[in-house]
Symmetry: D3
């Protein structure tokens, strides 16, 4: 049994299953739980004493959907001000229009970054985008050949299609019909192309570069990009996206693993993960705390 | 040495190489050739007696680019009249607008279907599209569950992006920059979406189905489709496209193979292909004649 | 819980599990069920009120094995008369002998086409073969280079080995020992070769072509064909087989999906499938109705 | 330039190419060569002083096709007497009939085991079969659960289809048309099945086991076996076949590599291979001497 | 429900589950069982009448961990005396030091060869190593080019890293932290390198060959070897290891399959396995008896 | 013809090949060349007028091996001072000992990072390591959960095994025998383990983490790592290594591509790469200039 709320998920066991639950549940349900948490084989586990399935009108959905613990307003501000540092007039205006599109921007700040792989929480897309932005800023300094403006635009908006690929208002994260028929790569390319098309004098070549970056950010055809990255900026956006995604998979999987322990094997990285015991106050510094 | 003109290609050998060619050519060149054709190990081969490299002003490019042997006007008329049989008003109008877009339609009737895999000839895209149309008509009758209008639209226009992915005016077939940065799948989806967007009252759901069909026609992610086919019509367009492509690969590879002979191994199907000897006048009925 | 009878299968739920079933069943069982059908997340589901496990002597097996809804006699007649149209005397005689082999022909008209992928029902092999025949007839007209006789023979009999690979008399579909040790590709090739061997003067080359077509119809080595298709007819039989198999997978998977809904992800195509809402009376025209 | 004769092949270089050869050869030719052998980067190389292309009537084909250095009569005798040790009456008779089939047995003792991977020499099939027999005898002793008779039959005859898959009389090794359309796995299974069919009272189950062993000896579907090995003996025949094939690839590739040297990368094992320097008289004991 | 003790494992069913077990067990537990064994679909099954979960102090761990049925002392003696036959002084001393390292040798004679694939039992590593030794001795005779000393050393010690990769004292087989962070390939190479380093005058080249053999024994990179085998002995050790591993997978999977029956599909070979009915007293000779 | 010197490589053509070169060269040679450079299809090309093959004593090898254009002393100093910032006493000492090992450190500052993929130049390993260090410093700031000391150690020394895997003194880059038999992953792990072993009191757990990071830095088994990364720092070292390797592949491939042009297809990224035309003085800012 896995318990989920907006702060994350945890394994749970219950020894005296009430008669009404003997035959299992018909799917995920909202429940109220009492019990004790303890460590079991290096992972946190809850021993449930009382469990009660809630009716729809007893539930405040916002309490249950997992949500980022970061300050969303601060992250959004960081992204907005990064856009203002772009030196290319066309890209700076494109960035500004994306942020000024209220419906889009609100969705961008609320959407999860995925249904389950990483950053699967309200605000997850914003969190992922802001972290990619930070890595991109560092990378642009280390590789002077990079077009910093394009890299930053791509680091921030490569996943913007997730705002329409996923839905998150109905008490869970789900794929939408456009999400399944077109996918976030194409949807994102279309969102950006629509804003590009509205900017007078946006150079055709630059529009093509931006589109290429949006389309190729998955890196390989088998991950859903119709083309592999063929410009330096497209290549780096894919690598930065991948770096943050995998770091997040590690940190989210090992959240409840205590120092010196191993995670389950079933996680997006498909291997058991290790959280070493650190010298001098390991507990405080362990990943996930 | 391979000789190519607009009727196809053939292996060639030359025993007395003129001094000026002793060090090879810098790439494909236009040449004037005299010699004799003969059969060698079951394939046609030309023994070249005289070979002369031509200067740019001696060349009529149209004489050299391979071109379909089919009647392009008749094929175009067949496609156009198929469009008029669609029963869904929106799709019939979309089809009509594609045909009425002069620049697009002219390119559609001239473009090759590929740079080298199959139908790599002027008019090849039209030929491929018309053959897919014929198969699609038959399939729609055999499977009554199919939406015939969508299937026919997809069979005809799934590869429309090739008109911008490839160039064919400069004496050879080459990828364009948009062709390499976006690819024909995305370019084609955008072409159709632009025409859809210009039709008042085109249903959103239908637009999504059409877009899905354009995006998924490669069948698998590793072939460049960002989504696998998830509707019956998208699935069938991919299967029909694949059937005609592979039949063409076979027929084009075995064009010069005589009855009872085997092709080279180097062809798009990556296997040596067999042309059986047929009873009663095999020669006349052999594939490729 | 999944309920299966000869008309298909359906998901089911039961809230008051009788004491005797509390610990689950030891495998599939024949049951008598009462309850109500309703739609749940776009798929039909049965809410079971009463469920009773039947004893062996209470069961009429024919009522439970899924069976084609098509008219088997009409399909068989269609196949038989197609054989009479073959122009090559040897192939026409071969076709006739296959049909005249009573044990074989009866099995051919009863066997399922697979244990679970597609056409997994009594009469499924006949249904699949007859549909492939129809597609082959159309294809032979569209590609004049094709040897129509060979294509039709292959379209009808490529899967004849299924008659011995599978068993369907013991209340379920199962692999036989020859089916597991040799597989339907080899068994089918042997069945045809035995009939070929009994025809005086059957040309050796033609026998080889027929055998190649039987052996290569899976298309790729990893699907169980010891050789890839290397003749035009073998290539097309594989493509036609594949087209009907995938169309059937789609239609069978979406049978209970209502218009505008999505199927489960677990099906032979390994992706969730979409049944669009059609304009003007969608419900009646939805696939599977 | 590679020189091949019946003792093997060797790299060669020629500095003063005669005028007539300046434009290359049209394919492999018979030549008479004079020159000096020397070691170059740890591999034997011939520096050619004089080279003359021979006419067809100057050639004794037997002098040029590579041929095993082993005593073919002794190997054949070893195989024949192994057959006489079988305890199962049916298998002993089957073995005897295979050996007594003169045309088959003569081909078996002359055929190469492959066109190029390993044992690509006259007598190579016999050599490979005899070595597999020796390994099989040892394995049958180590694993008492094994049916020794079946294992020995399979070790000797798993590749018997090569006698018809390949031709070796026309001055080179080539695939035959049945070899390409059916492949040695199927051809071999048919050869054995024909002999099984001629033995009165041969048990059906045993015939199925023998057939399974023939069909599955490539081990995996992608290597051309329509089924994976599913009996202990079929599994072991595949493993023994693989062991001898890979040992032969190593020994044949490193034949001309001196102690302490590395082979080229282009060989059937697709990696550069090492011949260590051995203590105490390495040169004499190096593999290939 | 699967029952395991030191003689192996068996499927079991229990119809009257005691109330305390109604909700399942929290993992594997020690139990005391009464019931009847019978055959079900060709496999042995136990019908449990009484089942009692034991407390920790009621358990003698040695009674439950599966353990080899072979005589471990005899196997160990066979390995030790094989080491004494090595002719190369350095390798003979290395072998002797491995055996004389008490902690290592004791672990080597007790460790399982794997957590679950094959030889997953106390003494399994010794059993696997001794069988590989026997095959290696035969192979060294059949291929005179082989360095027998190296082959025998590798056949015996290629898996020595398992002694530290796995733990087997805590009532089950589990991966250790070094086992997960380094793996048995590296751990084994380090164990051998440490002993090599302690032998004065051990030739550097020979040390490299031994290390290569340890590192490459998995055969392919994707199985955890950082290099493919590039010497004859490394190649053969991999092939011999593979042969014994697969034979063991077959024999362990079919242990309870009766003659003429098929195993489950879920086993390390990922296919259903067949145990043929043998003529004349099949039952006694069936694999696994 | 490709010309290489220590500043890089360039395509070249020669129209009047001297008689002595008519038959090609026996391998790479040192040459003296006169001619003119020009742009051909967007890439720099040299038209050679005079070409002279040099004798061994005319050659100064240092003039020909490609060498980094960066300041090696500055890079080395940057790495050394990064080591002094480590806070963990054990890792800081380990880092210091690596730098103080004169033979190792000199090799580290001279070695190429690869034979051909990226950074294949004298000083290339240092350049790659220093760039990874810079990325690692940024990443450690962005992800506070990371153990900065381990990450920096790994970013700098993950490829230290290249110092023994490759040789670069004999006029070219080549694999050594240990490089081929063990590979740089294992050699690097052993180098670090030897230094760890010499530090009194180095914690066993930390040694295991360092070893895991060295062993897993290739990321996947098929790239030569015997284990996948299972700690956060090992995961990030792999991702940082990959980011710099791919960026270098891009920059090195497009070095001679002019703005708006495309690279050849044959490069380590196996796709044609694009160098966009930039607004406002593109030529000066193009990658690679």
């Amino acid at each position: 049994m896995t318990l989920v709320d907006k702060t994350g998920s945890v394994d749970a066991r219950m020894w005296k299953l009430p008669q009404s639950l003997r035959d299992g549940l018909d799917g995920p349900e909202y429940v109220r739980v009492e019990g004790n948490a303890h460590e079991y084989r290096g992972m946190l586990q809850v021993k449930v004493e009382r469990l009660e399935v809630l009716k729809a009108d007893e539930v405040e959905e916002g309490d249950y959907l997992p949500e980022t613990e970061k300050d969303r307003q601060a992250l959004a501000a960081e992204v907005v001000s990064a856009g203002q540092t772009l030196q290319n007039d066309h890209l700076r205006e494109l960035f500004a229009r994306m942020v000024a599109d209220e419906e889009l921007w609100e969705a961008f700040c609320s959407a999860p970054a995925a249904k389950g792989m990483h950053h699967a929480r309200i605000g997850g897309l914003l969190e992922h985008s802001a972290t990619c932005l930070r890595v991109a800023r560092a990378v642009a300094e280390i590789y002077p050949e990079v077009d910093r403006d394009l890299l930053i635009f791509g680091a921030v908006f490569h996943d913007v299609g997730k705002t329409q690929e996923l839905s998150w208002s109905s008490g869970g994260f789900a794929y939408t019909t456009p999400g399944r028929l077109q996918g976030h790569v194409i949807v994102g390319d279309r969102i950006v192309a629509a804003h590009v098309g509205a900017i007078p004098g946006f150079p055709e070549d630059l529009a093509l570069e931006v589109s290429h970056l949006m389309l190729s950010h998955q890196g390989e055809l088998e991950y859903g990009s119709p083309e592999q990255p063929k410009t330096l900026e497209a290549l780096l956006v894919n690598l930065i996206d991948n770096l943050d995604a995998r770091a997040a998979m590690f940190l989210e999987t090992t959240r409840n693993v205590s120092a010196g322990g191993w995670s389950h094997h079933e996680n997006p990285l498909k291997r058991t993960l290790y959280v070493p015991e650190r010298e001098g106050g390991a507990a405080q510094d362990a990943p996930g705390n």
